[in-house]
């Protein structure tokens, strides 16, 4: 499997994501530069954490206009797997690929620490390798990670089983303890915690591998089911 890691100016978890899926998880990875008009022939795209374009405006507000985001939208519309982590989640929300918004943490401070997440659905390409209700431990590191959406949107997310993860110990004030969500087609996921930082017991946890393992299984199942008609 080949992961594509997008590099926006100001991305700073791009190396970590690349290292996690290649060195720790043993798959291929390649960079996708922010002004590319295509994501290339990858099996999944990762929007990494960081401060894209400095994030001096609203987080992700500028990144959504970068050329690669049109390519990501096309790729997602085509059914491609898109994972947004932290700043990547913020960008997906700004770009309209996921609903809601991520606002300042309730404490108004940047928070870096481990959190416990409950897997809310296994019916997704990102959580298929987990058990429903399984508890994963991963770090968060963000100043604007409080998930916010209208009551109607929140009800919809729950009714459609699109809440992927909830915090057990809500660190930032996210509504209904939401830590990660899926789009309606279930091929785009955003989450604030960092799975790529939890791929090695030496770093404190390897629970993040569950997400990459789920993605790998999805891609392999897809390959087994369909004879590829040609590379994307």
């Amino acid at each position: 499997m080949k992961f594509g890691v997008i590099v926006f100016p100001g991305s700073n978890c791009d190396h970590d994501a690349f290292y996690a899926v290649s060195a720790s998880f043993g798959q291929k990875a390649e960079w996708i530069w922010h002004d590319s008009h295509s994501v290339g022939d990858v099996d999944a795209v990762i929007l990494p954490g960081g401060f894209a374009y400095g994030d001096y405006l609203r987080c992700g507000a500028i990144a959504k206009f970068s050329p690669v985001m049109q390519a990501v939208k096309d790729y997602a519309a085509d059914g491609g797997l898109v994972l947004g982590v932290c700043n990547g989640f913020q960008i997906l929300v700004e770009a309209g690929l996921l609903p809601g918004a991520l606002i300042r943490n309730r404490s108004l401070k940047f928070i870096c620490r481990d959190v416990h997440l409950r897997v809310e659905t296994t019916r997704s390409p990102f959580t298929g390798a987990a058990h429903r209700g399984e508890i994963l431990r991963m770090p968060i590191a963000h100043g604007e990670g409080c998930y916010y959406a209208s009551e109607q949107t929140l009800d919809e997310l729950e009714a459609e089983d699109r809440v992927a993860f909830r915090y057990l110990d809500n660190p930032n004030g996210s509504l209904r303890n939401i830590a990660g969500i899926l789009n309606a087609q279930r091929n785009v996921m955003g989450l604030m915690p960092h799975p790529e930082r939890a791929c090695d017991e030496l770093m404190g946890s390897s629970d993040g591998l569950t997400i990459f393992e789920s993605m790998l299984r999805t891609v392999q199942a897809h390959r087994a089911a369909f004879v590829p008609a040609g590379r994307r």
């Binding site: 100016p9 100001g10 700073n12 978890c13 190396h15 970590d16 290292y19 996690a20 060195a23 954490g49 960081g50 401060f51 374009y53 400095g54 994030d55 001096y56 401070k109 940047f110 928070i111 870096c112 620490r113 770090p139 590191a141 100043g143 960092h194 790529e196 930082r197 791929c199 090695d200 017991e201 030496l202 770093m203």
Partner: protein, 734 residues
């Protein structure tokens, strides 16, 4: 027209001015006066300290680059090196805490990546005034919050983990907080870059942010005492842009790979002035620049302003002639400006043109390296004699919770949780650990780091205090299994023109020098920050030491007890301490509320044997937990070891003739508390190294109890102590 007034406004003495006239063979222009004033400021020239800094050890087997470059470099094997340095940003952080601290981080990060190394760790040593002082507490809380947010803002956005440090509160830092930032980076040995210009005819290229009017005379500001007017100096503080710095990092590292860069230096203190003349001086060449080509943020800037601006996120580099385009294309890719502003010349001079006319022409070497050198008077006793006061009756039971909740000892989580301490996924041990440990993915080995400094000890004896700082930093590294190999220092002192301050500086340098030689940790660079005084009040002499150690990459032995029923061995022994040596302890500060006598007594030989022993014990996998005794002594260490997720406590039983409060809280060095299931082997190793290693107790399921012979000095619930320890800083900050 240069008047006496103008000269003194530039903080130059009449004799310094005469030297300038001598060098130039004529009166300087206004621009030249400005250039000399920043290069010959205390901050840039080390004119008061240089003579004594020579006493520090700077060489060693692993030292690739000692002092004199942007950062020191150490060989870590497998063809890789680490570059590291500590630097202060004290004065700007008082005037504008957020930006002052943020640009402090920015400055030291550039020092690292200008050498070709990617920054992978930051640590901070911070000092503030008391947060609960009725008069100054509100301002001190504001400064603390601002500094922490500033460090977080810059480091988090740039993408470097802030993995450790220290934070101490004393009234002497009320009007003069200390913000010392340490950074470390890694690169291949063959990819090191130096800040040296070479090759006559090679283009001089300016990259990064545009030049504005911010930070003009920052270096001079950092070389004067604070007065009431200092608060008016806010415009002197620069504004940081970590996003720009991140782009600059990536672009510089990528451009370095092209092979088209000859030399490179960041523009930090004294901006364009410093980078041009220092690069020229190191390469023994001249540099000619045309200021019209310098990208500018404001219109109508004068040559004086352009040369002295300390706008952030700028670099100067010399490229190989004919290969400019390779450099430009990399910077274009990252959306950064890169402009050829001049050329390397043969004549050894810094020649500055504006609209084609020469506005400054100064020999580089004289400007950069021949600043006045002062042997300032220091023939006085550096420390006051403070007699032992009447000591209160011992109350270990109530003193321990008080100490655990005191600002110096309590958990600093409120601070470090605001820092991204995990980005780059190398943090094996982060904030709150004995020492920070960062793995080096490229070599498969790890680096451990610790910052230490104790102003109270140094106030009582600068020489012993400095030795103790070196010993403690090395001990912290040993306690996680690392071998200390090199150090960097940040010397924070008051006004060196006062003999008693100068005496403190000299004594501290000599003490540090002795200890660094002893532990074989050469000082490869650092920073001196003088004039840390406000309205004539000096800070405690505060030398801060950053020590770097090497170790294998492995799961670390951490502070908390893991299991009940383990023997507790106090490696190094109970130590001894008379009443005079109690005077610098946290017990003296928080319980007696006085400062007297002398710092704890250090025996370097014994200390080293303890460090050998602990490394051996860790190598053999004998310790389940390890924690060195420092602030608050044995009782505080036992409590801290009990605050882990397992909430395993301890029963301590000691046979000793020390007074109870001395036994519980004295701070004699060379002591490490470990829990082990093989005390026999631990004691055997201790015997081999000829150190004491009494078994002082056992870990237990619940609670902490300390007994002296049959007398219970105190017994506590872990949760009560832990909540006091965990929540104290947040309560103080509110």
């Amino acid at each position: 027209m240069i008047t006496a007034d103008l000269i003194s406004q530039h903080q130059l003495t009449p004799s310094e001015y005469d030297k300038i006239v001598d060098i130039l063979g004529r009166e300087p222009s206004y621009t030249e006066l400005g250039i000399f004033s920043v290069m010959w400021s205390e901050h840039c020239s080390y004119k008061s300290s240089r003579l004594h800094l020579k006493k520090l050890p700077t060489r060693g087997k692993l030292v690739v680059q000692g002092p004199g470059e942007n950062a020191g470099i150490i060989d870590i094997g497998n063809d890789y090196v680490i570059a590291f340095k500590i630097e202060s940003h004290n004065h700007p952080s008082f005037i504008e805490p957020f930006q002052g601290a943020a640009t402090g981080v920015g400055g030291i990060l550039r020092d690292i990546f200008t050498m070709g190394a990617r920054p992978i760790a930051v640590l901070d040593s911070l000092r503030f005034g008391r947060l609960d002082d009725p008069e100054t507490g509100a301002r001190n809380r504001r400064i603390l919050s601002g500094v922490v947010s500033g460090i977080a803002h810059y480091g988090n956005c740039f993408g470097v983990p802030t993995v450790g440090g220290e934070c101490i509160f004393e009234p002497c830092y009320d009007g003069n907080p200390l913000v010392n930032v340490f950074a470390l980076g890694v690169c291949r040995k063959e990819d090191i870059f130096y800040a040296k210009a070479a090759g006559v005819g090679n283009p001089v290229i300016y990259v990064g942010a545009r030049t504005g009017r911010d930070g003009i005379h920052g270096a001079s500001m950092a070389s004067a005492e604070f007065t009431e007017e200092s608060k008016q100096k806010r415009p002197n503080v620069q504004v940081g842009d970590p996003f720009m710095e991140k782009l600059l990092l990536e672009a510089c590292l990528e451009a370095m790979k092209t092979g088209a860069i000859v030399g490179i230096q960041d523009m930090g203190a004294a901006g364009l002035t410093c980078s041009t003349c220092e690069m020229g001086s190191r390469g023994e060449v001249g540099i000619e620049i045309e200021l019209d080509r310098v990208p500018q943020r404001a219109t109508g800037m004068t040559p004086y302003e352009i040369m002295l601006s300390e706008s952030q996120e700028r670099m100067l580099l010399v490229a190989a002639k004919g290969r400019e385009e390779e450099v430009f294309s990399v910077f274009r890719k990252w959306g950064l400006e890169a402009v050829e502003i001049g050329v390397v010349t043969r004549d050894g001079k810094l020649r500055v043109k504006h609209h084609g006319e020469v506005v400054a022409e100064i020999p580089n070497r004289e400007l950069a390296d021949e600043a006045p050198l002062y042997d300032r008077p220091h023939d006085v006793v550096p420390a006051p004699v403070r007699p032992v006061p009447n000591l209160p009756k011992a109350d270990v039971q109530n003193s321990l919770p008080t100490l655990l909740a005191s600002p110096d000892i309590c958990s600093k989580r409120w601070i470090w949780q605001q820092y991204d301490f995990q980005v780059r996924t190398n943090t094996v041990a982060g904030p709150g650990a004995e020492a920070a440990i960062i793995r080096i993915k490229e070599t498969g080995t790890s680096v451990a780091m610790s910052l230490d400094g104790n102003g109270r000890y140094c106030f009582l004896s600068p020489r012993e205090g400095a030795r103790l700082a070196v010993a403690e930093a090395c001990r912290n590294l040993a306690t996680v299994g690392a071998r200390p190999v090199a150090a960097t220092n940040c010397l924070n002192f008051g006004n060196p023109e006062r003999p008693e301050i100068m005496a403190q500086l000299v004594e501290a340098i000599e003490g540090m020098s002795e200890a660094c030689r002893f532990f074989d940790t050469p000082i490869t660079g650092g920073n001196v920050s003088l004039y840390n005084e406000t309205l004539g009040e000096g800070i405690y002499p505060t030398p801060v030491l950053g020590v770097v150690g090497l170790m294998a990459t492995a799961p670390p032995v951490t502070i908390p007890f893991k299991n009940a029923g383990r023997a507790l061995v106090l490696l190094g022994g109970l130590g001894s301490c008379d009443d005079a040596r109690m005077g610098g302890t946290q017990y003296a500060k928080e319980i007696v509320k006085q400062l007297w006598g002398l710092p704890p007594l250090l025996d370097l030989e014994y200390e080293q044997r303890v460090q050998y022993a602990i490394r051996r014990i860790l190598e053999e996998g004998l310790a389940e937990s390890a924690h060195d005794l420092s602030d608050g002594g044995l009782a505080v260490a036992v409590a801290e070891c009990s605050f882990g997720p397992a909430e395993v406590g301890a029963q301590i039983e000691i046979v000793s003739n020390l007074r109870p409060e001395v036994l519980a809280f004295h701070e004699a060095p060379s002591r490490i508390l470990i829990s082990t299931n093989n005390p026999k082997r631990v004691v055997a190793i201790a015997e081999k190294y000829e150190i004491e290693a009494p078994v002082v107790g056992v870990t237990i399921e619940k609670g902490i109890e300390i007994r002296q012979r049959t007398v219970t000095l105190g017994s506590w619930e872990i949760s009560a102590l832990k909540s006091a320890y965990d929540g104290a800083l947040e309560t103080h900050v509110r």
